[in-house]
């Protein structure tokens, strides 16, 4: 038991033990956020950099609070595409930041594999906060944490991931993680956003949401990026709504105690009906709350010890 990686680049290469040790550590971290003094001195003197090449409020502030609650110092860099096009390469940007001696760099980038590339020449611990359509490991971890909190287990649950699977890093990280922990994962979406190649990830693929809903324990809805519609991935929002919105009627087909999840931001009445998003079965805000505990656990496990043999 334990966690012995230097970086958190994705879920794909973690073992079941690694995942469980993050989830268990997060259990203990969650209590700190409920105290009056929401801070422990654990990472005092450590510096963490948030390096975001894509806009993000939730993930960035969640990492920021996590670092602060562990007493680390955190620096925020939001580089929009424009400043990158000034000509500085990703490698140069990161090397400049590393010259300031941080202990960890949290990176979000539009290109899949960017955090991995950065980890090949960095001394710091690298944490992937979302890369292209590849992985978003802390989101999958907080999703698993929330499912475990609500259902007391993950093994054997029927978990639906619904929507734009093709472009979703959240979906990929969740598929890897939930498979490792023994859940029955069903992907649901229109064929252009869910090509049949996904069956190779050892999951069930369905294009019929009504049928897939039957006996589901968890309904994980993904955001529909409207801009994709213009690229002809689906004919119209209206048609999408007919077939893939999570409505009250569809929800009734799932188990009565099924939970509804969404990584945010919500498109109300596109992928999820408003009354469903606000229903008692929705754990969307708990996911946000748990995100801090998960990110505290990840920072603690990566930064809270040194001089040990590290893999990756």
């Amino acid at each position: 038991m334990g966690f012995s990686h230097k970086h958190l680049l994705g879920i794909q290469h973690l073992s079941e033990d690694d995942i469980l040790s993050i989830l268990d550590t997060a259990e203990s971290m969650a209590e700190i956020s409920t105290r009056e003094v929401k801070k422990v001195p654990t990472l005092r003197g450590k510096t963490v950099i948030n390096l975001f090449f894509e806009p993000s409020t939730r993930t960035r502030s969640s990492f920021e609070l996590a670092a602060k609650r562990l007493s680390a110092d955190i620096l925020n860099f939001s580089l929009q595409a424009s400043s990158v096009t000034k000509g500085e390469s990703l490698r140069d940007t990161v090397l400049n930041l590393e010259a300031m001696n941080p202990d960890a760099i949290i990176i979000r980038h539009a290109y899949s594999g960017a955090p991995h590339f950065v980890s090949t020449f960095c001394r710091s611990h690298i944490i992937n906060a979302g890369d292209g359509s590849h992985e978003h490991p802390t989101q999958a971890l907080l999703d698993a944490f929330t499912i475990r909190q609500e259902k007391k287990k993950i093994k054997g649950l029927k978990i639906l991931i619904v929507g734009d699977i093709l472009h979703s890093r959240v979906a990929r990280s969740n598929i890897f993680l939930l498979n490792k922990l023994g859940a029955h994962v069903v992907l649901v979406g229109p064929p252009p956003l869910l090509p049949s190649i996904f069956t190779s990830l050892n999951v069930e693929v369905s294009h019929d949401f009504d049928k897939a809903c039957i006996d589901a324990d968890v309904l994980m809805m993904l955001r529909i990026q409207r801009e994709r519609q213009e690229k002809y991935f689906f004919p119209s929002i209206r048609e999408y709504r007919e077939l893939y919105t999570l409505s009250k009627k569809r929800l009734k087909k799932a188990k009565p105690d099924a939970i509804i999840m969404h990584p945010g931001p919500l498109n109300r009445d596109v992928e999820i009906a408003t009354d469903v998003a606000d229903s008692v079965q929705s754990v969307i805000l708990k996911q946000v709350e748990n995100g801090i505990a998960i990110r505290m656990a990840v920072l603690y496990l990566l930064l809270g010890g040194k001089s040990r043999e590290m893999s990756d």
Partner: protein, 184 residues
């Protein structure tokens, strides 16, 4: 690491007698037992705390709540550890503000654990007082800390280890002095 047992310094009877004696001392010293709360330091401190709380109840019919403190996040030796300790939960369901806190650990050694525990308690509130109870005081303090209630003073050498075993988590109640085997 293999270790060999050098001595068995306490058995179940001796441990119970010590706990009973310390309970009397606690009752003597704390006029207002209703203001007393017990906080056990993971892991063995929890069970000693629960036993003390029960003894107080048997003698004085007063309920003293028992909380659990995990000090991992407050340690001062993070960067020296080989690998990180698993963080466990702190579970203190009551406010410590204005309470007389009876802090409990199994063995008092360098005093660093107690320093960390006090820092952690102050983040949870402002106790009226903190008293310290340990089953074994083995000496070798590195900080100006002493216990208010001591089960047994046990002079040891630094390379020796003191193991408190309690039947709630181990097979039986006993205190052992052990030493790493195979080292000259």
């Amino acid at each position: 690491m293999e270790e060999k047992i050098k001595a068995r310094v306490m058995d179940s009877r001796k441990i119970n007698r010590s706990l009973a004696r310390m309970t009397t001392e606690i009752i003597e010293r704390n006029r207002d037992l209703n203001n007393l709360v017990v906080v056990g330091i993971r892991t063995r401190g929890i069970y000693i705390g629960k036993r003390i709380s029960k003894l107080i109840k048997d003698l004085e019919k007063v309920n003293t709540p028992v909380g659990v403190l995990d000090i991992t996040l407050y340690r001062d030796d993070f960067s020296e550890l080989e690998a990180q300790h698993m963080v466990k939960k702190t579970e203190i369901k009551f406010s410590v503000t204005d309470k007389d806190v009876l802090l409990i650990d199994d063995v008092l050694f360098t005093g660093r654990t107690i320093r960390a525990a006090m820092d952690s308690l102050f983040d949870l509130g402002r106790p009226r007082s903190i008293q310290l109870l340990v089953l074994i005081d083995r000496g070798h303090r590195e900080l100006p800390i002493r216990a208010d209630y001591v089960g047994k003073f046990l002079p040891t050498s630094k390379r020796e280890m003191v193991q408190v075993r309690l039947k709630e988590v181990d097979e039986e109640d006993e205190v052992l002095i052990t030493e790493p085997a195979g080292i000259e």
